[in-house]
Amino acid sequence: MTTRGWITLAVMALLGVLPPLFFLTGNPFYLDLATRLVILAIAAVSLNLILGYGGLVSFGHAAFVGLGAYAVGIPAHHWLYTGWGDWATMGYVQLPLAVLACAVFALLTGLVCLRTKGVYFIMITMAFAQMIYYLIVSIEEYGGDDGLVIDTRSQFAWIDLDNPLQLFGLAYVSLIVSMVLVRLIVNSRFGMVLQGAKGNPDRMATLGFNVYVFRLVAYVISGAMAGYAGALLGNFTTFISPEMMDWSRSGELMFMVILGGASTTVGPVLGAVVFIVLEEVLSHFTIYWHLPFGLLLMAVVLFVRGGLAGMFGRKED
């Protein structure tokens, strides 16, 4: 196994073992931190599919996360206030709804975004995310600016999401599944085309590939996965607001991917770990923690090529 393979295993093992240990030894706070981390890592993994492997710089990924969270919050809200049946709180309804809603949103916006390239693409993905942001703000029924409290977490027969350990377990397993899924996809024939289109779209077209369609499919898959992460996030925080979709959230997801190492399996997870831990530590010291954070971000962009995963071992992990 390669160095990077070992690092992947080590990171995942620590991530799976440490948080429950903290919880069982009377430090529930660290489990909470890890749950948030793992959920954001899923979103980062999904972003890596299009950003890292597809070369599509999407600056609106937080919109999918937010939309996924509202797919949990809105049915739960109607269940409580407008008499929707118990089905509205079922996990089997909410999670697929989150995935589906995001897939549809990705499809509709992707149809437009992917007609453009380069900097247009960056700005348009950003703009569409902002559109969803303002849309949610404008709907008073769902709390608008103030956000929405989720009174009931998604209901499953076999797992209780009110139990922090079980919620973490679900998130952790989901992260592993999403990593395996993305890895399978990028190494499949579809993934080869996606990566080829990142390297040289004209060549791919000359070979006979309709690059647009391949990218659109990848964009939809990525959006749907981020929506799933959002549904988990909603269950974790039990309070959701349009702020989750702010473009700085999208920027943070992007930063995780780049910091950890784009187009590697472990990169986004590593990036999420460093990001969340650093955020936690810095904000502990000073309310001005965004300052060193911003400087660090700039330093990473200027000086660290290939991210953390790029420091260990070569590209073929």
């Binding site: 710089v57 303002y134 780049i258 965004h290 962009v301």
Partner: protein, 307 residues
């Protein structure tokens, strides 16, 4: 729909459009000439507002503060070009975006450190505080008219500079052919710095003009920057004319949409349904317009000529 409300909202839309143009013109110039995506452009808009607020207290005079604060914001822009943008020119757009995203965090936090977390209000002189009667009982605040006047003047000044002066000629040449400009023996680095400074000054001016209405607040730039993106996408990235037309279009559509969409919807649906759906649709209106424009013209309304 009453006519004087339409006029007043039309003026508000014009005002928003002009402010958008001031922000978007710098973005589109910087992108057109330097091929650089500056997310932190909104932070310069915010800095302009804070400089102007502080100087207004210092001088006791808003107009004087404005005149001094504009070049200061320009200098900040010049420094941003020198120390942040320049090392990133050779990189791809992703690095531009991430680097300037970091810069936003830095500038926002520094602003927080220097000016504190609260917004800063900007007092206006008495003569700007009143209202002007257009006819009957249709009145508009004097200051809003001043914003429109100042916005139009700045836009006209920018067009004059770009189309009539030597610097403008270099900027236009640089937008279409960078190699040629450097071949002419022009100090291209200085030119880039000046373009950045000019863009910063325009954005700063927009922040200064809006601050007396909204206060100078941290993060005020992060909302307008996305709308400015929509403007330059619709107008065609790199085109100042496109930015102007698109800015007015977006400003008017957004403002009028928010105030009249429910009335329009009520023409063909029940008043309750109109009341419920109008806010959501009007919030999305400019993005829908953007999507429509792109569906037919992926390069925007006025795509720049061969690059």
């Amino acid at each position: 729909m009453d006519f004087s409300l339409l006029v007043i909202q039309g003026l508000n839309g014009l005002q928003l459009g002009l402010l958008l143009f001031l922000v978007a013109s710098g973005l589109t110039l910087v992108f057109g000439i330097l091929d650089f995506v500056n997310l932190a452009h909104g932070s310069l808009y915010m800095l302009g507002a804070f400089f102007c607020a502080t100087l207004t207290y210092l001088f006791g005079n808003f107009i004087l503060a404005l005149i001094v604060a504009v070049p200061i914001t320009g200098v900040i822009g010049f420094l941003v070009e020198r120390f942040v943008a320049r090392p990133l020119y050779a990189r791809d757009h992703l690095d531009h975006v991430l680097g300037t995203f970091g810069l936003i965090l830095v500038i926002d936090t520094l602003t927080h450190l220097i000016w504190g977390p609260e917004g800063l209000s900007v007092p206006l002189p008495d003569w700007l505080r009143g209202q002007i009667t257009l006819w009957g009982d249709t009145v508009v605040p004097t200051f809003r008219l001043m914003i429109i006047g100042a916005g139009l003047a700045a836009a006209a000044g920018l067009f004059w500079m770009v189309n009539r002066t030597r610097l403008g000629m270099l900027i236009r040449a640089g937008a279409s052919n960078r190699t040629m400009v450097s071949a002419l023996g022009i100090d291209i680095e200085l030119l880039f710095g000046l373009v950045f400074a000019l863009g910063a000054a325009m954005a700063g001016l927009a922040g200064m003009l809006i601050a007396p209405i909204t206060e100078a607040t941290i993060g005020m730039g992060n909302g307008i920057i996305i709308t400015a993106f929509v403007v330059i996408i619709v107008g065609g990235i790199g085109s100042i004319k496109g930015a102007f037309i698109a800015a007015l279009l977006i400003g008017l559509i957004d403002t009028l949409g928010r105030s009249f969409l429910d009335d329009i919807f009520a023409l063909f649906m029940s008043p309750v349904a109109a009341e419920n759906s109008a806010p959501a649709i009007s919030a999305m209106l400019i993005y829908i317009i953007m999507a429509l424009v792109l569906a037919f013209r992926p390069q925007g309304l006025f795509p720049p000529k061969v690059r």
